[in-house]
Amino acid sequence: MKNNIWTIARKEFSRFFKDKGMVFSTILLPGLMIYVLYTFMGSGMSSMFGVDEEFIPKMSVVNMPESIDAMVETFDVTDVTNGQIEEIKAELQDKNAVTNLLVVFPENFDADVMAYDNLTATDAAPNVEVYYNSASTDSSEAYQIFFTILEQYETVLSNKFDVNAGEAVYDMATEEDTTGQIFASMLPMLMMIFMFSGCMAVAPEAIAGEKERGTMATLLVTPLKRRELAIGKVLSLGVIALLSGLSSFLGTYLSLPSLMGAASDQMDASIYGTTDFIMLFLIILSTVLVIIGMICVVSALAKSVKEAGSYITPLMIASMVIGITAMFGSGAKEEIYYYFIPLYNTVQSMLGIFSLDYNVVNIVVTVVSNVVYMGIFTVVLTKMFNSERIVYSK
């Protein structure tokens, strides 16, 4: 009887949605917490590492080489002579000085650097002197910036291959790619955790809890079929867990740009289209059903909610580890057989969707196989409800 499935599901929904505390802690809180936390972390990070965009270092340079000149185009550079060095040094001792930096290059810096081979050279490498005032915020910042530039240049030089490629390093990636990469590598693991915690918040309570409190037996003496009970539970808990998972997802989605702090002008979720979101939704839905099925079965084995929790924790860790695999390797797997493996298929599908590089067939395989897994878990759960050992374990 389909009716009984609905009756059971309706009871689960009333149990959940009429309980304001439960709705708040399971659905609203995760998303809200994640949003607040990530936004806070994000703004904290960007104020720590972020660069004041208005700031233009003011520097006096002796013997400015052409190579470096090209890199500090946006800076306010004044060419000075050897004779002015002492005068500017004195000026720098005032922390409110107009000039932030004094940089002294040796003569013919470019030529010397090119000729220098650190494997065969006997005399010291060409030395750049950078004078600054650490008491001045502007001077320190200018020093940091310029030092980084020099360091990068040095790295480029020591790498012959890169030198041949050109004198400056340009990031060839388009904006779409960068945003996608960041989302793609982090989100599958986060989503895994969110979906799992959503399921964990409701399933052990509704299965092991009902066993523990003796309310399960009350259901079992009615004409209700065990199969109907299993399906009703899995579906209704799945819907609640889905809401919880979506809340977490939304929180992450909205706060990720600020979490990425300095890179935030590159982070833009609008690169994802409606199809991408539909795919994502299907993946999340089917995955939540798999996880709920799994947790229901494990909860049915336990005698109490507490015991269920201790059984589920290793599963959660395992699924997190699967989520972490997305952070390594290059993009989503293409071979179809990966998409038959539960949870791993979720991670791979999400990786593909977030990096805007996926095969619809693989997504479909994931969704269909997840629904099949849920079916298997429901059959197992039915068997367990039929087993008096499970229902009447003393």
Partner: protein, 260 residues
């Protein structure tokens, strides 16, 4: 007389865990809880299963309610087999024991409707019956109070009512007055007599002699999972009162077993 319940040679053995072995002070890995039990209950009577702790009463009733399956044997509930037609059996009986709990979060009103749905009771019929039963047990006053906030007696009344939403012909009741004060206990026993008056068949298990004497038509004495004697209350108490009769039987049975 119509046989509404026919129990035939039921057997049930439990495997014991190490912990249970200690608890039961036995070296045996199994416990024969019900050992070839047979009896019949007729339409319109109250049948009492009388036995000491651990005799197998609860196990027997759980098998009748199809919560657990017998190892062998069968029982026919209004012609339906507990082994092969479990769902039909469940729709024919009202089963109530103190181990069946109601969810704390819900109100009696909600639970009544919920269980009515599970038993497939039509809405009009449900509402009429609910009104009648709620009035009879005074549940009206707390129909919208969560079960968590009800007293034990109130909960018992709600459990009772909820087990009867489908107006079953057979009511199975394990230790009906256990843990109830005299007032609530009287409400329950009066109700059982009322059910009998309506032509229902009632099976109760108990180790309280006075309850049996007050309400039962026939009694089955069960010890160590076996039906030792089964007769009408009248015949059983011809020579002695029920209590003395029971002790005679008990000493005879357990003594016999010790000699073996």
């Amino acid at each position: 007389m119509e046989e509404l319940l026919k129990v035939e040679n039921l057997h049930k053995t439990f495997k014991l865990s190490a912990k249970q072995q200690k608890l039961e002070r036995t070296k045996s890995k199994v416990k024969k809880a019900v050992d070839g039990l047979s009896f019949v209950a007729y339409k319109g009577e109250i049948f009492g299963l009388l036995g000491p702790n651990g005799a197998g009463k609860t196990t027997t009733l759980r098998m009748l309610a199809t919560l657990i399956k017998p190892d062998s044997g069968d029982a026919l509930v209004d012609g339906k087999s507990i082994v092969n037609e479990a769902e039909q059996v469940r729709s024919k009986i009202g089963f109530l024991t103190s181990e069946l709990k109601l969810e704390d979060f819900f109100t009696p009103n909600f639970l009544y409707d919920f269980f009515s749905d599970l038993y497939g009771v039509a809405v009009e019929e449900r509402n009429a019956r609910k009104e009648e039963l709620f009035k009879k047990f005074g549940i009206d006053e707390f129909a919208e109070v969560k079960v968590a906030n009800l007293s034990t007696g109130m909960k018992q009344k709600v459990s009772l009512v909820v087990s009867l939403v489908h107006n079953p012909d057979i009511i199975i009741f394990d230790e009906p007055t256990n843990g109830l004060d005299v007032i609530t206990a009287k409400v329950v026993t009066d109700f059982l007599l009322d059910l009998k008056a309506q032509g229902k068949t009632v099976i109760v298990s108990t180790h309280i002699f006075s309850l049996i004497e007050k309400i039962c038509d026939r009694v089955g004495i069960i010890i160590n999972g076996k039906m030792i004697e089964c007769d009408s209350l009248e015949n059983m108490t011809k020579e002695k009162n029920l209590e003395d009769k029971f002790f005679d039987i008990y000493v005879e049975t357990v003594g016999d077993q010790n000699e073996k």
